[in-house]
């Protein structure tokens, strides 16, 4: 049973435009959310995170939005650059278990 879902396996965006990656979760005990980026043949790297007490967190070109009532979060990348092309994983943490649970990933392709 997938507790963290990324329903879009892939996304293609033009350079300079906005990329929006979506993530849904089912476990209401999740209280912290993170995004990781992964290039081929490398391990994932941390991108940005958000606590459940906030609804937005921004870091440069990256912004994460959290809608707790909908159990939905999204990552916005503005403007998108070709170097952003990678697989993006959404992850969630439950305070009760301290497990870091990942979603299935979305492959972002930014076209020059």
């Amino acid at each position: 049973d997938q507790q963290v879902k990324q329903n879009s396996p892939s996304l293609s965006v033009q350079e300079g435009r906005i990329s929006i990656l979506n993530c849904d979760y089912t476990n209401s005990m999740f209280d912290y959310f993170l995004w990781y980026k992964k290039y081929p043949a490398e391990g994932p790297t941390f991108l940005i995170s958000i606590s459940s007490i906030k609804d937005k967190n921004e870091d440069g070109r990256f912004t994460v939005f959290l809608n707790k009532s909908a159990k939905h979060l999204s990552l916005h990348i503005v403007p998108s650059q070709p170097g952003d092309s990678a697989v993006y994983f959404c992850a969630a943490v439950s305070g009760a278990t301290n497990k870091l649970i990942f979603g299935t990933g979305t492959l972002l392709a930014v076209q020059p």
Partner: protein
Amino acid sequence: DAGITQSPRYKITETGRQVTLMCHQTWSHSYMFWYRQDLGHGLRLIYYSAAADITDKGEVPDGYVVSRSKTENFPLTLESATRSQTSVYFCASSLRDSRTEAFFGQGTRLTVV
């Protein structure tokens, strides 16, 4: 070298054999994790450890054994490898807990034939 390293990078083994994947980190991070990456499943947590001698099951622990006698090492053992355990395995560590940034190794590609 500083950081988190996994060995071997590639491994082919036969069904039924015992295999151990190694993970070593130099930061003295408290938490360590093992994930497997499979197409359509993303990254699934196998086991994690909050400190030396403290381990707990993740989402898919069956068929795997871990130990953490020293803070810096977190080996993952497949007791009797099966074809379904063919995957890319990632080890990670984080300073305090799962909310702090996790640093991943480069992965071990394991093929069970």
